[in-house]
C-alpha cells in the first residue's frame, strides 16, 4: 500500500508540467506587489463582504465549519467547510482579527460539492467565518479559534 502511494507521488512529480511564466518585469512587480482586488484590500469584515457583493446574510446551521478550538500555532489553522444549502455558488473564508479579513473565496460550479478544506493564518484569537452565497441568499457560520503562545523562546 505504502509503495503504491510512493510510486504514485513520484509519478505526479514527473508528470508535472511546469510553466514558470516569469515576465521580464518580475522585480518591479514584486516590489509593487500590492493586491488591488478590493476584497483582499478591505480592513473590516463589512467592507470585505461588501466588495464581494454581500450586504445581508444570516446564520445557518446548514453550513458546517470545522476549525480547531485551539490552534497550537496561528501560522497554520486547518479549516473545512461543508454547505448543505441548496444552490451553493461560492464559499468565502474570513478571519475577523487578521489585518485583512478576506482569506479566500471558492467558486462552486454545478457538479462540484459545496465542500472545501484548506489551512489559514490566524494572527490572534479570532472568529473565523464561512460565508456562503446561494440562489436563496447569503448565509454564514462562525467559529472561535484560540491562538496560543508556545515554545521556550517565544
Amino acid at each position: 500500500m505504502k509503495k503504491t502511494r510512493r510510486d504514485f507521488l513520484s509519478l505526479t512529480g514527473r508528470l508535472g508540467l511546469a510553466a514558470a511564466a516569469l515576465t521580464s518585469g518580475l522585480f518591479s512587480r514584486i516590489a509593487m506587489a500590492v493586491d488591488t482586488r478590493p476584497a483582499f484590500e478591505a480592513t473590516s469584515l463589512k467592507d470585505a463582504l461588501a466588495s464581494i457583493g454581500v450586504t445581508e446574510h444570516q446564520a445557518s446551521a446548514e453550513i458546517i465549519l470545522k476549525a480547531p478550538d485551539i490552534a497550537e500555532n496561528g501560522a497554520v489553522v486547518p479549516v473545512e467547510v461543508t454547505s448543505k444549502l441548496p444552490g451553493t455558488r461560492s464559499i468565502a473564508l474570513l478571519v475577523e482579527k487578521n489585518p485583512h479579513q478576506m482569506s479566500a473565496e471558492f467558486m462552486i460550479p454545478e457538479g462540484t460539492e459545496a465542500f472545501v478544506a484548506t489551512r489559514l493564518k490566524v494572527a490572534e484569537t479570532s472568529n473565523v467565518f464561512a460565508v456562503v452565497k446561494t440562489d436563496a441568499g447569503v448565509f454564514h457560520a462562525a467559529k472561535v479559534v484560540k491562538v496560543t503562545l508556545g515554545g521556550c523562546g517565544g
Binding site: 505526479t12 508528470l15 510553466a19 514558470a20 482586488r37 482569506s103 462540484t112 460539492e113 484548506t118
Partner: protein, 103 residues
C-alpha cells in the same frame, strides 16, 4: 521554476476527492526577516482546476492562506483514468500547472 504540486485525486463513490499540497512561500508582505527587513509580499492569488475541459473549481486567495498551501475539494463527473489539471498564479507573475490521473 516553482516546485511541483503534490496532487492526489481519488474516486470516492461518484465523487473525485482532490487533495493538493503546493510549494509556495505565501509571504504576506508584513513579515520581517532576521535582519529586520520586510519580506516583500509574494502569494498565490488564483487557483483553478480543470477536468475534461470543464472548470471544476476556481478560487481567489489572499496572503492569509497558510504557507505551502493545502487545498481539498470534491467534484462529480470524473472517472478513473481521467486527467485533472491544477493551475496556480501568484503576485509575482509566477504560475505552475500540474496534471494528475484520477485513481
Amino acid at each position: 521554476m516553482p516546485d511541483p504540486m503534490r496532487i492526489r485525486a481519488v474516486m470516492m463513490g461518484d465523487l473525485v476527492d482532490v487533495k493538493i499540497l503546493m510549494s509556495h512561500v505565501m509571504e504576506t508582505g508584513q513579515r520581517k526577516n532576521a535582519d529586520g527587513d520586510l519580506v516583500p509580499a509574494h502569494y498565490i492569488t488564483e487557483v483553478s482546476a480543470t477536468c475534461k475541459d470543464k472548470t471544476v473549481m476556481s478560487a481567489a486567495w489572499g496572503p492569509s492562506v497558510a504557507k505551502n498551501p493545502y487545498f481539498s475539494f470534491r467534484f462529480k463527473g470524473g472517472a478513473k483514468g481521467d486527467k485533472l489539471s491544477i493551475t496556480w498564479k501568484d503576485t509575482a507573475g509566477g504560475t505552475r500547472t500540474d496534471e494528475v490521473t484520477i485513481n
